[in-house]
């Protein structure tokens, strides 16, 4: 029994280690590319009041007169202990990003809770009724929604449901003062848009993963033994297609955290993506760093999870010879 848990443990440890290394590289790239951006925080924030002495005073106050390497290392040291530092505007980065992160996670969770079961179910149905009307309909419509850029889908949703039908508000600008019902009501259009964007991807991949398993000899064998087609798909094919399905689900979940910038801007949803845009515009490096770190962590974390799921679900990977 020991032999079975060790591979997982050592695999998890090495994956986590690689994940941390990627994070480190990401932070390095972000830090130095931000410092390559022309213009500084001081002149961005002071705008037309940027007198030379005001710029100098602000830069000294923020420690921007120190060498970049020193700033990077001191930031890294603090970040390693979970301290993301102070935004240049004087508030702790976590105070700036905390509520935004919560909003993004809320939006992502609701969307994921609807999208993942729905996508897998539809994917299985497509595979089961391959070539029939439902399969062709879903394949075509998902292809169409993949082909449209997300902002276009967003504006389309807005035009139909907010401007023409006036069922939902065009702005998802939720605030703390709103009750849960109103917050959810305002989130309908962004959720709908995100659903359209990620459902298509997940349905197509689920279908493809199951169909590729369906061509294996053992499926043929199951059929020859007289199993019904539905049972073949559910019992024989689906469990063996979990690996690829998990990775596409993970990618889409990561997208829900880090890729929704455009959706957030279009619907004025106060999430991390908008916060990052705002920070880049003002060259607020600590906030940019923290956002990048959050996004990178989401990507790496979900991919790690997908790897683990696909390895655990596949005895051949779990017990490599």
């Amino acid at each position: 029994m020991n032999r079975t848990s060790h591979p997982i443990l050592s695999m998890v440890v090495s994956r986590v280690g690689l994940g941390l290394l990627s994070l480190l590289i990401v932070s390095l790239v972000i830090f130095f590319s931000v410092s390559l951006l022309p213009g500084s925080y001081a002149s961005a924030i002071l705008g037309q009041n940027a007198t030379p002495e005001a710029v100098a005073a602000l830069e000294t106050k923020l420690g921007l007169d120190r060498p970049a390497l020193w700033r990077y290392l001191s930031w890294l040291g603090a970040a390693a202990t979970g301290e993301l530092g102070q935004s240049f505007a004087g508030r702790p980065v976590m105070a700036v990003l905390g509520p935004r992160l919560l909003n993004t996670i809320t939006l992502a969770s609701i969307t994921a809770a609807i999208a993942v079961p729905l996508a897998i179910t539809l994917g299985v149905i497509c595979a089961r009724f391959r070539g029939r009307f439902i399969d062709r309909f879903l394949s075509t419509s998902t292809l169409a929604s993949i082909s449209l850029p997300e902002f276009f889908v967003a504006y389309l949703m807005m035009m139909i449901f907010a401007v023409k039908l006036q069922w939902f508000p065009s702005m998802a600008g939720i605030r703390n003062s709103m009750d849960l019902g109103e917050q959810l009501y305002r989130m309908v259009l962004p959720i709908l848009t995100l659903l359209l964007v990620i459902l298509a991807h997940m349905i197509r991949n689920t279908r493809a993963a199951i169909l590729s398993v369906m061509s294996s000899p053992y499926v043929e064998m199951a059929r020859l033994k007289g199993e019904s087609e539905g049972r073949v798909v559910m019992r024989q094919a689906l469990p063996n297609a979990i690996g690829p399905i998990a990775s596409v689900v993970a990618l889409n979940l990561a997208y829900l955290i880090s890729g929704v910038v455009v959706i957030e801007v279009v619907f004025v949803y106060p999430g991390v993506g908008q916060a990052m845009i705002d920070a880049v515009r003002n060259r607020d490096v600590p906030v940019i760093q923290a956002c990048a770190l959050i996004f990178a962590t989401a990507y790496i974390g979900f991919n790690l999870l997908a790897d683990i799921v696909s390895i655990v679900s596949n005895p051949r990977l779990l017990h490599p010879r």
């Binding site: 002149s43 002071l46 037309q48 009041n49 505007a89 401007v163 702005m171 908008q274 916060a275």
Partner: protein, 534 residues
């Protein structure tokens, strides 16, 4: 080095990220120095504004950097919500650009405009019922001063030598050098009055001011919500029960918010959407002439622009009407190579009108013995919206005068750091200044920090210094008229257009004359406007 002569400033470093450009709040404009107090325009409106309801205002540049700390205010969000609704200044810019008392009832100058005595309004209270006193005013100014100040108003308060109080209702400000415009400068939105703390400093953290509205909630970069202050010192104001400023940085989202009734007013409308608003019976387009102007600036110290004939020929080679019609879709006015907006007092006509005349330009160059003039013009979309298109048209116009313009398309990001003030012929976006003195000190005197035209003219500098401490309006006016003429004749500015603030609003919002020196009716829309549908 500290500029001994006065406040400085310049255009807006717009750093676009493919989104709506980040607009900094700004100062500009002006008015005649009228020390007397007069009533806000909204009180003079013919039909009585109604009381109640709420205003929701879609702002384009609310940022998560926004804070209640007045020295840090840089966005329209802070300006309109904090400076305009939550707080008052000692003085107020009226819609017509003139100056009125606000928390200061009146003021007198002495000793060549170096010593200013402000008599403060009695009976004003902060939102927590604390009475407003001269110490609050003193600390609110001191807050921006000091060696390590990072305040946006540093340039203004650095002229102050000393601030003293005399009793509860007198504030005496001594300047290092006479400045007849000093009360105007106190209208700067950073110089809002907050309650003084025991032992010095101001308490901005609790969000308590004297303004028409009390702070209800503030989520940086999302929204500021304020509710009526029942004890406001201006009789009959405010009209709304509640105002909310909502940050909507994306232009399309902002327009949608207005179309779907999520907000009542949006600012910074895309000119391409003007017909959409004009077709809609529930909406109305509102243009307020502003100080903002778009220019092509030539550096007078750099060849070939150091030759007056070259500058003059280029000024005659731009068809301004054509650019305004094609690039700005008619939303703009021609300037006459004088950077002073029409709404500014002391603005003078500067004849002759510089019109498109390729033949005259060609003749000028021939007379000066210049053949085949070729110049590089630096443009970028972030220089001003439409700068690239305006440059293309300019190239075609100038070709007919025998001038070759090489259009250099610069990178959008970093334009204000790497091109503006650096390249000899570049496009610029100017938001103006509240007084002529300030405008010139910012960009046109020899030692101006943002002298994008490299303009050095000793007569101009002399007049500038003389006008500053001159308290007789007639003499000052004459000085300023001569200065504007010098800029028109010899300067390096080609004014492409003067533009207006473009607001789109619901017909349910009523207002009187609106001010254009600052956005959002000189920031004071919350107390000046009202609802018509209640």
């Amino acid at each position: 080095m500290r500029y001994p002569t006065g406040p400085i400033g310049g255009p807006i470093p717009v750093r676009a990220l493919g989104l709506a450009p980040s607009r900094r709040a700004f100062l500009g404009g002006a008015a005649v120095l009228a020390g007397a107090f007069c009533l806000p325009a909204s009180l003079r409106a013919e039909e009585g504004p109604k009381r109640g309801g709420r205003l929701r205002y879609g702002v384009n540049d609310g940022s998560q950097q926004d804070s209640l700390e007045p020295g840090s205010w840089a966005t329209v969000m802070c300006g309109a919500a904090f400076n305009g609704a939550l707080c008052n200044n000692l003085v107020e810019l009226l819609p017509d650009g003139s100056l009125a008392g606000d928390l200061a009832e009146r003021w007198e100058e002495a000793e060549g405009a170096t010593r200013w005595t402000f008599t403060l309004r009695k009976g004003v209270t902060f939102h927590d019922r604390r009475p407003f006193t001269s110490e609050d005013a003193r600390q609110s100014l001191l807050h921006h001063m000091g060696e390590d100040s990072t305040s946006g108003a540093l340039a203004i308060v650095s002229q102050i030598k000393e601030i003293a109080v005399e009793g509860e209702d007198r504030l005496i400000v001594t300047l290092t050098q006479g400045n007849a415009d000093f009360p105007y400068l106190l209208s700067d939105y950073h110089l809002s009055i907050f309650p003084a703390k025991e032992g010095g400093g101001i308490d901005w953290e609790s969000g308590i001011g004297t303004g028409a509205f009390r702070l209800d909630s503030f989520e940086p970069g999302v929204a500021v919500r304020l509710v009526r202050n029942p004890r406001y010192h201006k009789p009959g104001l405010p009209h709304f029960d509640e105002v909310e400023f909502i940050a909507i940085p994306d232009r399309a989202a902002r327009l949608n918010a207005l179309l779907t009734g999520e907000v009542d007013v949006i600012e910074d409308l895309d000119i391409r959407n003007v017909p959409l608003i004009e077709r809609n019976p529930d909406l109305v387009l509102h243009r307020t002439p502003s100080l903002r102007h778009l220019t092509f600036d030539m550096n007078c110290q750099t060849a070939p622009f150091d030759h007056p004939a070259v500058r003059q020929a280029l000024k005659l080679s731009l068809d301004r009407e054509d650019v305004i019609a094609k690039v700005f879709l008619g939303e703009g006015e021609t300037g006459n190579d004088n950077p002073v907006a029409r709404i500014m007092p002391f603005r003078a006509e500067t004849p002759p009108e510089h019109r498109y005349d390729p033949e005259a330009a060609r003749a000028l160059l021939a007379e000066a013995g210049i053949e085949g003039l070729t110049v590089d013009l630096s443009v970028a979309e972030s220089a001003f919206p439409g700068a690239v298109e305006a440059g293309v048209l300019f190239r075609e116009h100038a070709a007919r005068a025998g001038i070759t313009i090489n259009l250099v398309q610069e990178a959008d990001d970093g334009y204000w750091d790497n091109v503006w003030l650096v390249k000899p012929f570049n496009a610029a976006d100017w938001y103006g200044r509240v007084t002529l003195d300030w405008l010139f000190a910012t960009s046109y005197t020899s030692d101006a920090p943002w002298n994008n035209t490299g303009f050095r003219n000793s007569r101009f500098d002399e007049l500038h210094a003389a006008a500053r401490s001159e308290t007789d309006p007639t003499t000052r006016g004459a000085h300023y008229a001569e200065m504007q003429q010098i800029l028109h004749d010899e300067g390096g500015v080609i004014t492409v257009a003067f533009v207006s603030w473009l607001l789109a609003m619901s017909r349910a919002i009523g207002h009187g004359e609106t001010g254009g020196i600052l956005p959002a009716d000189n920031h004071r829309c919350a107390e000046r406007w009202w609802r018509t549908d209640i």
